[in-house]
């Protein structure tokens, strides 16, 4: 049984004793003449986590959540209620509370039909069961031993392993019946290295919509341990970061968080419908240098940010946001697409049944150019090379965004020089990409560690980019 709809029926509806007739009735209870759209989102999620610290398996936890969210939309108005009790009276009460957004009307009945599964980007598996507990423990111990073996300056190592399975079933009043079974795994390593009383941290991580065996293939887990140690030791050598506006070269992969903050959020449909984004009304205009093409692609197999369907049942797609420097499209959920007269793009996402969906990113990245990365570094007389980042943030109205380098080096005379302390970089979203002067041929996606927060809701996302040269970005160091 690997059909998501069958798995969702068996995992969510059958234990709750809910029949197809009940679903018709609940969907009908959401309907009223003034309701433009209504949907029900059933969800069951299981999450298991393990933590190794001080060389021992110190903590483990198991979480199970389930519930159903009911939404009724009338024009720009949304009524929403949810229940974490899946019995019919509680569900009917939630449906009626959501429907109260539109007064009057009578209940109808809706016939719902299953939709064919558009993609199969990941198998509907349960990663929690993909390794035995003994194997999970052994995996963590291996990472810990490797990090400690590499260098005596490594003082503290914290490693965590998370496996989750999220099963969703979406029923909408247009007859949609869709389901998705979403595995997600994550491994994180954090180390503290100490030398002459100075302490520095290094972190690394990886993840995917896959089984836990993902971390064993090609010894990825051990590679992550090495990466965390390398970063901590590099930071032990780091000097003051420069302050001011300068040429910045961003490394490939995770530094693509630049795109997520600088242009991604500003191109989400809700902000553009409301005219609150610095990008509002700018479709067809130049917002980036020629050669810059940025997409949001929810269809990459196994990626952390990928989904077979979004949380409204719309199949995900690859949406071109910026093409050769010209703004081409926004990311949409159903509500904002309808109100803007555009098509949904499979970007309607929600943290859980207890949250309303809204336009969110999936995997956002820039396509490769043709420059050799070495040539890009060599082209810079004096500047900053930022290899790794922590998080970022954007003010979508003013367009100002920040992202914080966790590993950076000076570039002097076309060569990568001494490491510098972490620093925040700040820029203006609508024009930063117009200053991209060289694009590498080394497109890479991040290792599967991104989590995006918007209006209090967190969802897993991915980013990526090739090596980029940006002529003029403000670097927030303390040095000259």
């Amino acid at each position: 049984m690997s059909d998501p709809i069958s798995i969702a029926r068996q995992g969510i509806l059958e234990p709750a004793g809910l029949t197809d007739g009940d679903l018709d009735r609940l969907c009908g209870a959401l309907r009223a003449p003034a309701i433009d759209a209504a949907d029900i989102y059933f969800q069951t999620s299981r999450l298991e986590s393990w933590v190794l610290e001080d060389g021992i398996i110190k903590d483990g936890s198991f979480n199970i959540e389930q519930g159903a969210g009911f939404r009724a939309v009338s024009g720009e108005k949304t009524g929403f209620a949810y229940s974490d009790e899946l019995h019919l009276p509680a569900l009917e009460q939630a449906a009626q509370a959501a429907r109260a957004i539109a007064r009057g009307g009578q209940q109808g009945r809706v016939r719902i039909d299953g939709l064919p599964v558009p993609h199969r980007l990941y198998a509907p598996l349960n990663p929690i069961e993909s390794l035995s507990n003994e194997e999970k423990v052994a995996l963590l111990q291996r990472v810990d031993a490797e990090a400690r073996r590499l260098d005596p300056r490594v003082r503290e190592v914290v490693t965590s392993l998370v496996a989750a399975q999220d099963t969703v079933l979406i029923i909408a009043d247009d007859g949609t019946l869709a389901a998705d079974v979403r595995p997600l795994v994550r491994l994180n390593v954090s180390v503290i290295a100490e030398e002459h009383g100075r302490r520095e941290q290094g972190t690394s991580g990886g993840g995917a919509r896959a089984e836990l065996g993902y971390f064993l293939a090609a010894d990825l887990a051990v590679e992550l341990a090495r990466e965390a140690v390398r970063q901590a030791l590099t930071n032990l050598e780091a000097g003051e970061a420069p302050a001011g506006t300068m040429t910045v070269v961003l490394g490939p992969g995770w530094p693509g968080v630049l795109l997520h903050e600088a242009v991604g959020h500003g191109l989400e449909g809700d902000f553009n419908r409301k005219g609150t984004s610095a990008f509002a009304g700018r479709l067809g205009e130049r917002v980036a240098a020629p050669g810059v093409t940025v997409v949001d692609d929810g269809t990459l197999p196994g990626r952390r940010g990928s989904l077979n369907i979004d949380d409204e049942g719309t199949p995900t797609q690859c949406t071109v946001l910026i093409e050769d420097g010209i703004l081409r499209g926004y990311m949409q959920d159903r509500l904002n697409a309808r109100l803007m007269g555009l098509a949904p793009t499979g970007n309607g996402r929600r943290e859980s049944y207890a949250h309303l969906p809204m336009p969110r990113m999936t995997n956002t990245y820039m396509l490769a150019g043709d420059k050799d990365p070495a040539e890009i570094i060599a082209s810079v007389e004096r500047g900053l090379y930022a290899a790794n980042f922590g998080g970022g943030q954007v003010d979508i109205t003013s367009g100002k965004f920040v992202f914080s380098a966790s590993e950076a080096y000076l570039i002097e005379g076309g060569r990568i020089g001494r490491p510098v302390r972490g620093a925040t970089l700040i820029g203006n979203g609508p024009d930063v990409l117009t200053r991209v002067s060289l694009i590498g041929n080394d497109l890479a996606l991040d290792r599967g560690v991104g989590t995006c927060g918007k209006e209090g809701q967190s969802v897993p996302v991915g980013v990526g980019q090739p090596t980029l040269r940006i002529d003029g970005l403000t670097v927030g160091g303390t040095g000259a």
Binding site: I57, Q201, T474
Partner: protein, 449 residues
């Protein structure tokens, strides 16, 4: 439709206490040598309006159950949103299954029995609000209207929202401790957009309180949101330089929270703090006193006992500039060979003693420098104290506002910033559980054009 107000909080609390007791009994039955459990139920109403029209009406209702079991010094945890007896048994079984694979940790155990809270004081935290969705919408609309009509340069809105929630939480452990209490929390907020010279700016204001009558008046919140937005119009970067920086009160609260991050138990035992080994040493100038008041009546972060069941108590964290204590739960305390400070779950109602200067006097004291009204990003490294964040605010010359500033960063090191604190203002005028005036820091690096 009226929003769901709890009829009988004491009766419902009794049911949650029964659930906790049942979990502890079940844990013992499944062989655990000790256990602790927390059960909660919450509900609320949230309405959002935009441009005078309803945008969303949300009815929230959440249950939660968390259990930790100990087999000697091995532990396992589980949680679920389902409070049914069957789910409760399964959660205990899941926690026990985990505990078979965790290893002996000599510090893993319940807090010491003699530290459990005794009589649980009533902190006046429960003030339910039987507001209807219609009335909630009317208040939010009034708030947004006040912002939109404040000035013609306010051209758009992200809207206003009103929320009202109640919650019941019960914690118990196998020492025989069991305690619970009801709480409420209400909030009203507004965010509007202004436009001038082709540039858009957004800002917001909010109020939050345990009792509805303690909320700031709707129109006053709206006006404040509009004023803050207008103050940002025409912002531009400044040239890179070193200068004094005044952190406006609500932004300075973040510096206090970073202090807590650096002195909390896990940061200390992981050697991940720039304040490691600084206990008893000066970390601020001698005029600085910082304390925690967890038992404040109606306090937004008040709690009679912490997440371990340990009684909370007032304490000084910094006295005469000297670090007096770390903030510890019982696990961290054992690991460090210290006593718990009753801070499992964090610090509650943090405050710094305020000085004499109001905002204009602080600006005169600074002379020329940057008043920071907003910070962006996560560029704070608590291991090293390195601090580098995006900032917006006002450029000040001779104590007077010259122009709004954006697209700059401010950078320094928290240890040096704390030591370089020149003055704390008396201008604490923002809601929330952290109380401080504005902080004047002698010198930071500002990166701009």
């Amino acid at each position: 439709m009226a929003h769901f107000v709890l009829e009988d909080p004491q009766g419902r609390l009794g049911q949650l206490r029964d659930s906790v007791a049942a979990i502890l009994t079940e844990a013992a039955r499944q062989g655990a040598t000790a256990a602790e459990a927390a059960v909660s139920t919450r509900a609320g109403l949230e309405v959002a309006v935009r441009l005078g029209e309803v945008e969303t009406i949300e009815h929230t209702r959440d249950n939660g159950l968390g259990v930790t079991v100990y087999f000697g010094h091995r532990k396992g945890s589980a949680s679920t949103s389902d409070l049914s007896p069957a789910a409760l048994r399964e959660a205990v079984a899941a926690a026990c299954a985990i505990a078979r694979y965790t290893e002996e940790d000599p510090y893993a155990a319940l807090a010491d029995a003699e530290r459990m809270a005794g009589a649980i004081p009533d902190l006046d935290l429960y003030h339910p609000w039987a507001i209807t969705a219609e009335d909630a919408i009317a208040l939010a609309v009034a708030c947004e209207d006040a912002a939109r009509s404040h000035d013609p340069r306010i051209t758009n809105s992200e809207g206003a929202s009103l929320s009202s929630h109640w919650g019941l939480q019960v914690y118990g452990n196998s020492h025989g401790f069991i305690g619970g209490y009801p709480t409420t929390r209400h909030g009203l907020s507004c965010a509007v957009i202004g436009e001038a010279d082709g540039g858009m700016q957004r800002d917001y204001w909010w109020s939050t309180a345990r009792a509805p009558q303690d909320l700031e008046e709707a129109a006053a919140i709206g006006r404040r949101a509009a004023e803050r937005t207008l103050a940002r119009l025409g912002a531009r970067p400044i040239a890179t330089r070193q200068a004094p920086v005044l952190f406006q009160a609500e932004v300075a609260a973040g510096l206090l929270r970073q202090l807590i991050g650096a002195i909390q138990g896990a940061s200390i035992y992981r050697r991940a703090s720039f304040l490691l080994d600084r206990l008893g040493e000066p970390v601020f100038p001698s005029f600085v006193h910082i304390h925690e008041r967890p038992l404040l009546p109606r306090g937004l972060a008040s709690a009679p006992f912490d997440g371990d069941g340990v009684a909370t108590a007032d304490k000084d964290l910094v006295r005469d500039g000297i670090l007096q204590t770390y903030v510890l739960d019982s696990y961290a305390a054992r690991k460090l060979g210290m006593e718990t400070t009753g801070n499992a779950g964090g610090v509650r109602n943090l405050a710094i003693d305020m000085g004499e200067l109001d905002r204009p006097a602080l600006l005169r004291e600074m002379g020329t420098g940057l008043l920071v009204t907003e910070l962006m990003g996560h560029g704070v490294n608590l291991v090293t104290g390195d601090y580098s964040r995006g900032a917006a605010g006002l450029w000040i010359e001779g104590g007077e506002v010259k122009h709004p500033v954006e697209e700059v960063t401010i950078a320094g090191n928290l240890a040096e910033m704390f030591a370089g604190l020149v003055a704390v203002g008396n201008d604490c005028d923002f809601p929330g559980s952290t109380r401080t005036g504005s902080w004047l820091i002698d010198r930071m690096t500002i990166a701009g054009t």
